[in-house]
């Protein structure tokens, strides 16, 4: 048991201490993870208000389930698994609301199934105007590819750990990450070509989104 505790990462030990009643341990844990978690949520849902709500929901769930916490893996996999589930719930709710709001009962198959209102091409282009070409390209990635990239960048999780967090296979994670890197590199190259301004890259992005191909 002692050996198992020694092999745990520092954050897992902090979580165990919080589970056992140490509130200060939670403060330290929170300070370590608040930035990566907030950025993961913000880049995923691309809406500051929704990201703030989800941020609070993730920590609330963690607090509510602390009694059942067992330090078997890296703490970040536990935290981001909760975050992954919260964002999935968010996208499902958003999709249902959009279906309910559609007055003409249009064919659901003809719509893009899992893109929230604020991620539709018009909203996305507006959002893209406010940020760099890289972040705009990141926002234009399919949700699963974006999530895989964010999990690796923000938390340093390995491919296997990301697979555990997102409940998919290792090969699927590799494939998603490979596509994400390729597209993001392409957007970086576009901004580095002399005479090609980031604003122009954003226009290209808007065109590709409207046309439905990346």
């Amino acid at each position: 048991m002692l050996g198992a505790m020694e092999s745990l990462d520092e954050d897992a030990k902090l979580m165990v201490r919080y589970r056992d009643g140490d509130t200060d341990a939670f403060s330290t844990l929170y300070a370590h993870h608040k930035g990566p978690l907030y950025r993961y949520l913000l880049r995923q849902v691309r809406n500051a208000g929704a990201a703030a709500d989800l941020f609070q929901e993730v920590w609330s769930r963690l607090i509510a389930t602390r009694a059942r916490y067992e330090a078997r893996a890296k703490f970040a996999t536990f935290l981001f698994h909760i975050a992954h589930n919260c964002t999935m719930d968010f996208f499902r709710r958003d999709l249902m609301m959009r279906r309910a709001d559609r007055p003409d009962g249009a064919d659901a198959q003809s719509m893009e199934p899992e893109v929230p209102e604020h991620q539709r091409p018009d909203g996305l282009a507006e959002f893209a105007e406010q940020q760099s070409a890289l972040l705009a390209a990141l926002g234009a990635l399919p949700r699963e590819q974006r999530e895989t990239f964010l999990l690796h960048e923000e938390t340093g999780l390995t491919i296997e750990e990301i697979a555990r967090v997102t409940d998919v296979g290792v090969e699927t994670v590799k494939s998603r990450l490979r596509y994400a890197i390729r597209k993001l590199k392409k957007s970086m190259l576009a901004t580095q070509i002399p005479g090609t301004q980031p604003r122009a890259a954003r226009s290209d992005l808007k065109d590709t989104l409207v046309n439905g191909s990346v």
Partner: protein, 173 residues
């Protein structure tokens, strides 16, 4: 092949892509969120501390005990016994009413099993008395006596079908 090289290079870390992402993406949660989450964590701990861990098994045991007591009270308690007492006569009464003949007065309680009248005389003696009343011409009294006899001996059968009367009432098997 190039793609898998890209992935391996990226996974080794510190690529231009990672550096650029970190440079450009550094938003942090608003302070109001920090305060809210930290308050939540403290509140949750206070709520837990109210019920000390050593009291939890006791609380569980008390719940189980109360539940068992409640079930036992419902099954074997005085109310249950009373209900069982009520049921039995009700069933008997229903059974008894199916045997009620149209001649029995509604004001008179129907016999439960056989007769509720005392068998004051042996059947043969009683029939002999009835026959004597008829012979004396007291037919009304004889009829009333015969009805009483029938109530007392509803299943009485006289073998041979002896005629005890002058013709008005004949006992037959």
């Amino acid at each position: 092949m190039d793609q898998s090289d890209d992935l391996e290079e990226y996974l080794r870390g510190d690529t231009a892509l990672s550096r650029r992402y970190r440079r450009e993406s550094s938003p942090a949660p608003p302070h109001v969120l920090d305060r809210r989450v930290l308050r939540l964590s403290r509140q949750a701990q206070r709520t837990t501390q109210r019920l000390s861990p050593c009291l939890q098994p006791l609380a569980f045991a008390a719940c189980v005990l109360l539940s068992v007591a409640l079930v036992l009270a419902m099954v074997f308690g005085p109310q249950a016994a009373k209900r069982m007492d009520d049921n039995a006569p009700r069933l008997v009464r229903v059974a008894a009413r199916t045997d009620v003949t149209p001649n029995v007065s509604l004001n008179r309680r129907a016999p439960l099993y056989g007769s509720d009248l005392p068998r004051t005389r042996p059947a043969r003696v009683w029939l002999a008395d009835i026959a004597a009343l008829r012979r004396a011409g007291r037919n009304d009294e004889a009829d009333a006596e015969y009805r009483r006899f029938r109530s007392a001996y509803p299943g009485y059968v006289e073998i041979g079908g002896t005629d005890h009367t002058s013709g008005a009432l004949v006992i037959r098997p």
